[in-house]
Amino acid sequence: MMKGRPVLGVVSGFFFGVFAGISLFLWGVIDLHSVWLWVLPLAGIVLGLVMAAWAPFGSDADDSRSRIPPDDPDR
């Protein structure tokens, strides 16, 4: 189940990979015929989906409940 934002993950991940590959080429790190120029967009999509499924950021109802001490009428 996706707890995060899968559409944002796929779209952002794809363009993250595209621009990361273009930047690596323009900065002279990889060659123009490198397979990384299409591997990186795919890896970006996978990363976006993983982030959406994992959703490690933001408020968690269970965690926040566990951090709030129950009302103690004796205190």
Partner: protein
């Protein structure tokens, strides 16, 4: 929650590290050459490129120059005119194949050529990039010669490189943003 954030940060760091190692540890590959031909191109400097230069060596050439070239098919010259064809391609990322820069065709009795060629690469072509795999092909009298070299234009990355890096960072933040929990999830 903090443990989850630590796991997320560790996983991201590990992913970036693995990708970086894989990118920087490119395998060494020998130059692809087919046929008996030999040749060289000399740019100002002088910078000389020959048919025996390995593909993993990137030759940095000026964006504007006059190149002195020599080429020889190393086959017996024909007694009469024979057809020839060939061209120069720049390899693009898969699956786009190649971009033909120039092609030639005709009839000749020669099996070698030499001379000079002046060129000027347009200003919109990025400088200081990674290598471009340039492949020259020539077919004549049933013999095909294929020579490939890796070249790049001299210069420093322009505004496009900074724009590309900024876009990568922005979309990277967006990708991380996909990990923010939806309300009610």
């Amino acid at each position: 929650m903090q443990r989850r954030r630590r796991y997320a940060a560790f996983t991201l760091l590990a992913s970036v590290t693995m990708l970086s190692v894989a990118v920087f540890a490119s395998p060494v590959s020998a130059e692809v050459i087919e046929g008996p031909c030999t040749g060289s191109a000399t740019f100002s400097g002088p910078i000389t490129v020959t048919e025996s230069q390995p593909l993993d060596v990137t030759t940095i050439v000026p964006a504007e120059d006059t190149v002195q070239y020599v080429g020889n098919l190393n086959i017996d010259p024909p007694s009469d005119l024979v057809p020839f064809a060939g061209g120069i391609d720049v390899a693009l990322p898969p699956p786009f194949g190649g971009w033909t820069v120039v092609s030639w065709t005709g009839d000749t009795v020669e099996v070698s050529d030499s001379g000079s060629y002046a060129y000027a690469v347009p200003s919109w072509v990025p400088r200081g990039t990674g290598g471009l795999k340039v492949t020259a092909t020539h077919t004549q009298q049933g013999t095909t010669c294929i020579v490939a070299v890796t070249m790049a234009l001299d210069g420093s990355p322009g505004a496009g490189a900074f724009i590309g890096a900024a876009a990568a960072v922005a979309f990277g933040v967006g990708t991380l943003g996909a990990g923010i929990k939806k309300k009610g999830a």
